[in-house]
Symmetry: C2
Subunit: 799 residues, 2 copies
């Protein structure tokens, strides 16, 4: 094992050391103040119970380490004029970030009531983790934050996402040793195989071993040095160790190590950029081992606090009943000597303030962390140029996602440095492989000669493939929040892997959009779900789950959009719309396999713009001029659901010609919700005009059927709404068999209609019987032949 | 860096080598047959198109490696009489597992139509990945499988879960290099810090570097040997490398290495067991680097196949149109010389068959992999003994989860070797810390002196804490499926992290329960969601998400149960029920903080048994003898929701005494669904008796309000059902403020009643105005004081 690299110099003069330590004392003073005080912020008078908040909330433990890193970065930003941002994995230690953000002035600029004086400091303290106040995480309200750190696991992938295509940027990412135990974080270390030192910026991960979680030690703090070093060398980094608790030594060590790392990064980049030769370097990373709750009380009530899990949150409470605690708090805060740090007015003294960079070089004011400001509109070719020719509905077949691939290819061409595509190893499988004509998969791990034959790897591609949905989505989020554009596609069933990440991003966007006027809109997160449930007949039950969109419908209507385009042209129209939009999560569900095509491009645009509509060519009622006209409404949403609904309609029109059918297709799922619940919701008047007030509706849905009820339960005709969808029936099946199991197939739909439309006469009973026979025959055929009958596979709309 | 350990011996005699290679040839022959053939299984006649399936499905690439490992394990099982099971991370390579399972006879014993002869082999081939047939993953139908490998990421945590408390068991877990890129897998390597070599079995992970995913190389196959070795040493293992493609050499290497690993495992265990000294050993693991699609076609149509991603699935298709492919297939299959492996009848020849172990020593027949057979009933103390004394409803407060902790403590005591508790660092925070009196947190990483002060660590604890919900749930699943009992508790919002794991486990159980008679029932997966949305007022928006139960309602009603006990005694009753049950996922939602107590234990048992019921003491109608009697139904579900509903009821009864209120509490969420949809669903008659057919229902719900509509949309009185719940409004708030934001608070509920009950008269309008003022006043108070008014915090039921 190679001995850990460690610079031996002491780069700080005693004056620099004094100042940087004073700056850190100011950070720690503020952090404690935020957690405890509501008044007397400068401790000008003796601390009394009424100066202390009644409800004590916040995380002290990680805060000193977070600001320790922050201010040492400041030194180098100033020294080298670095373009840097800061990502706090342990975002719950917000006091450790908010303190330096306040000290460098940004906080007061954005929130003028938290001014740089005693009054402002008092508000800053009081409102921390206080109703209507400042969050206890690095929430969207935190200047310089693009990572809240509420849910653990994504700091490092966010950091890499921000660094891609920002060649001058250094993203310092503090990874807590708690977060390091999560799966998403554990695999995100491998992101270094996707960084190109010529065109990308750098991530400097700092694993903060402060040793403890809420009530447990952390794994990485309790393995041998050799294991720890092996692990990070194994991940492909050169680890540097800064370990200790003596502030003076630690300042020198951190200053030297951080400077060495920054220089190493710059050297790597300069070499690659001057030579044009790209190979994967061993990027530096730092292991910072420092006590939890560093500089806080060593012991409270006979229990060890500093350097132990008891320092994780509020190290001591009962301030209003325990005078000893109050005394300890005062002593603790005074140990930072606030009188040396802030002047009489409570303003941070000049000689310290000048340690921080100014203007946009401040990490809290770096526009990268308010990425909407940097965002350039995506240059889009005309999506109409990629249309599938459809002269008659339901006659030709195409793979729905393939034209989208061509569209994405040309978007990639027009936006060579600010657009990326993300997907776990399925870009080709999802028929998006045209993008490789313009941009390969980025890959900086080893290559082999055979990769020339179709592996589509390159050190300068912008297609991102790794078998971790977590890492991919984390990269995309970092990329979007720092001002760029992207497109994520994944397996429908396994989109649930990133349910929780979606939740967090939607919440972030909701706050940004509705609460934070200073944040500029960022590009939407566009998610294509392909390899959908209805074409998982061969992979079986475990691959069948259309429920990701159920999760989406729980989040704010202000930021969520769901589209289920029935064919390739609708998919193009929807994708174009999504790629132009900002501040949404757009979820598109579209299968990759061959499907019937229904709408010409003009028709598709019209249809998608409305989001829902009557397909007159499929209907035989008078097409909506009288809302009470049809005998039954055949509604559908999703590609396979649409085809089966159409096939059922064809059977009905042939077999029961007097039955008046209205055929409705839904692209934009939220049109079904009332206007009051979602901006895309149709008015009740519109809805009733489409669905009638009292006729049976047979709704064939791509997903779980009850989702439609969840959206439409308030509608007038809800009692006649009969929904079919996936109901957890499946195994190894043919496509038709799988549909039959879940009763979304044409034959069952015909039966549904016959059972629900009154007075259809004896002919209908005969048709019903035939349908039951069809079901049996088709299932038998599938069982014998391993595939569906040719007339099912090749079915076309007959009119 | 220490040079990789590698035994140099050649343990196989030439005769043994010949036989083991022949056995492997038989496996590979069967794997190819499964993917391609529907007839002519022994190739007795020249291969014709009609012998080949029309739809070719399956994964060849990983299959040879999977059976290679399997049969080498067989050798050692026989030699040392090992108790071993096999876990295939790349479960999609089912042919590589099914083949040896068939050859050792288990498959035919369980599925007699797949007999050990030509006819049986033909069916075995034809039905693989064929409608109604054999899954293409290691599905529950696969003898010996407790891990399907459909969704990637969980093989290693499942393996460790099976090994805990099975001291003699060796779980060999093949980890695919694709799966190794996922987050859950990347952190599961750290499971070795939780294995006690005295009382636990061992996991032998085999990282199978076959180099490629669907269309990409894998990361771990494309880093340097030094990095790879560093990584696994860093994870705490001693890696052994078996690398190559020459079968003869590889058989010798694998035989030697596997034997060395098994001996190393036994040595570690013997040392610990004889000395009684437990320390964390460096467990062995193997890196097996072998070509993808090993022994398959080297090249097809001019493209490299063996050792490349093109071997991932079906290496060549178009069998019915491309005679050259057909010829290649025949040549490929004949290269395994089936005539030397199977006799005239198609039966595997005796001298090879005897290489496999027999009876329950066969990994496919090991009862551990049909854990229900090993399962012993959990010994439960009488949960009534842990009751909170409740003489009057709504007067006393208790932390709802604390008595559960006492109950769990004594369960742990009575079941010292087959019950474990799993949670990410929150056992104490969730008030379950009484369990530590009996069993500490297991911890085999380093310990420090200060851990004595409350860290509750021990090498022999059975409380499992790690900051990875994925790993914890994977352990629990492995533990349950191998016949034991467990209890998982986690943060409600972050339960979404394991949405996808829940989905997969529910699907597994559904198939086992409904399709596979030979699988004995396993203990239910019990999940407690605590730290719930309504008490995340201080953590803010990112910590507020009650949507996990929405996901649960999408899965089969046969295996899903959701309980929201309103108080501590109900929680005890529910928990007792869940811990006794089998084959369910039971989700219990209960907050950890102080809440009002309503029911004595007897009442609680009655209430929970019905799952839903009228609380007569809270109602002032005539309590249900006439279903049309009340003016309004106040319904509620969830602890905080119940308290606010009660408080609203108290206000209404005081202010509008002539208003007849029926108060209904729901514990078992699925009672709301129709009987036809869920076995716990109440009949429409019962439902109507409770909720009336036409009176307004004000339903206060713990979760997202529309979930109630999703469940109850078919009920008679659905149009009068007005649901309140969490609607994504929250920030730093007090508890009441958060409730007010989402309108689940007492004041808004009173307004809801007044707005919906007709003819309440002018007094009601006055009350309505007062409620609006209360809302404003309370919000202002919270904003000023950082907490709710004492009369809110201390509110008791006044009657």
């Amino acid at each position: 094992m190679v001995v850990a690299t460690r610079p031996e110099t002491k780069p700080l003069s005693s004056e620099e050391l004094r100042k940087i330590h004073a700056y850190w004392r100011a950070c720690n003073y503020l952090a404690v103040g935020m957690i405890y005080l509501r008044d007397n912020p400068l401790l000008k008078e003796p601390l009394k119970p009424e100066h202390v908040k009644k409800r004590l909330l916040g995380h002290w433990g990680t805060s000193p380490g977070l600001s320790f890193v922050y201010i040492h970065l400041n030194r180098l930003i100033k020294k080298y004029d670095l373009n840097a941002i800061y990502m706090a994995g342990p975002g719950h230690g917000a006091p450790g970030v908010l303190a330096p953000v306040y000290l460098e002035g940004t906080y007061s600029e954005i929130y003028p009531d938290k001014s740089e004086d005693e009054e402002g400091m008092k508000k800053f303290f009081k409102q921390f983790s206080f109703p209507g106040g400042i969050g206890s995480h690095c929430t969207p309200e935190t200047p310089g934050s693009i990572h809240e750190g509420g849910e653990l696991g994504y700091s490092l992938s966010h950091a890499y996402g921000a660094a891609y295509d920002h060649p001058d940027l250094i993203v310092t990412c503090v990874v807590g040793d708690g977060e390091a135990e999560t799966g998403p974080l554990a695999t995100a270390w491998h992101s270094n195989k996707f960084v190109n030192p010529i065109r990308d910026g750098a991530v400097l991960p700092i694993l903060h071993l402060n040793g403890y979680k809420i009530a447990n030690p952390t794994i990485l703090a309790r393995i041998s040095h050799e294991e720890l070093e092996g692990l990070f060398r194994g991940y492909g980094y050169t680890p540097y160790f800064v370990e200790g608790d003596d502030p003076e030594t630690m300042h020198q060590d951190m200053a030297a190590t951080l400077e060495e790392c920054v220089n190493e990064i710059r050297k790597i980049q300069q070499e690659a950029r001057s030579s044009g030769v790209v190979r994967r370097p061993r990027w530096p990373m730092i292991v910072l081992r420092s006590p939890k709750g560093w500089t806080g009380p060593k012991e409270v009530d006979g229990h060890k606090v500093e350097g132990f899990w008891r320092a994780h949150q509020v190290p001591m409470g009962a301030m209003h009943s325990n005078p000893e605690h109050l005394r300890l708090l005062e002593e603790w805060m005074k140990s930072y000597k606030p009188e040396e740090l802030f002047d009489e007015n409570g303003t941070f003294i000049g000689e310290l303030k000048e340690l921080a960079p100014t203007g946009n070089r401040r990490m809290s004011a770096n526009p990268v962390a308010n990425g909407g400001f940097l965002r350039k509109q995506l240059l889009l070719p005309n999506f109409r140029d990629y249309a599938v020719a459809v002269s008659e509905p339901g006659k030709v077949e195409a793979e729905n996602t393939r034209p989208l691939g061509n569209f994405l290819r040309d978007i990639m061409r027009k936006n060579p440095t600010n657009f990326r595509i993300f997907g776990p190893d399925e870009t080709a499988s999802n028929r998006l492989n045209a993008v490789y004509e313009v941009s390969k998969k980025v890959w900086l791990a080893d290559m082999l000669p055979e990769d020339q034959d179709g592996s589509e790897l390159s050190t300068d591609g912008r297609v991102m493939e790794m078998l971790s949905e977590h890492t991919l989505l984390g990269w995309l989020e970092g990329y979007l929040l720092s001002g760029r554009h992207g497109f994520f596609h994944t397996y429908e069933a396994f989109a649930h892997v990133i349910d929780s990440m979606f939740n967090q991003h939607a919440k972030w966007l909701d706050i940004c959009k509705n609460e934070i006027s200073w944040r500029a809109p960022v590009s939407s997160e566009n998610i294509l779900l392909s390899s959908t449930v209805w074409r998982q007949d061969h992979n079986g039950f475990s691959h069948q789950d259309p429920g990701f969109i159920d999760i989406v419908t729980n989040k704010s209507a202000d930021v969520t959009r769901i589209y289920l385009p029935p064919d390739a042209n609708c998919l193009l129209s929807v994708a174009d719309h999504c790629l132009r939009s900002t501040n949404y999560v757009n979820v598109i569900v579209a299968d990759k396999q061959k499907h019937l095509q229904y709408l010409s491009m003009d028709e598709a645009i019209k249809h998608c713009t409305k989001g829902i509509g009557i397909w007159e060519w499929a209907s035989n009622d008078d097409c909506g001029t009288d809302p009470d006209e049809p005998d039954v409404v055949m509604a559908c949403c999703g590609d396979v659901a649409t085809m089966e609904s159409l096939a059922a309609t064809a059977i009905l029109r042939q077999e029961i010609p007097h039955l008046k059918i209205r055929f409705i297709n839904v692209v934009d799922l939220f049109t079904l919700q009332p206007q009051t619940e979602h901006p895309h919701g149709h008015s009740d008047w519109d809805f009733d005009s489409l669905f009638t007030k009292d006729k049976p509706i047979i709704f064939n849905f791509h997903g779980y059927p009850w989702l439609i009820h969840k959206l439409a339960y308030r509608r007038t005709n809800h009692n006649n709404l009969h929904v079919r969808g996936y109901k957890e029936k499946g195994n190894i099946n043919t496509p038709l068999e799988l549909a039959i199991e879940n009763q979304v197939d044409r034959f069952n739909l015909v039966i549904d209609v016959i059972d629900r439309v009154p007075k259809l006469g004896p002919a209908a009973a005969f048709v019903r019987e035939r349908m039951k026979n069809e079901i049996i025959e088709n299932v038998n055929y599938a069982f014998e032949n391993g595939m569906d009958k040719p007339e099912i596979v090749d079915w076309k709309w007959p009119y």
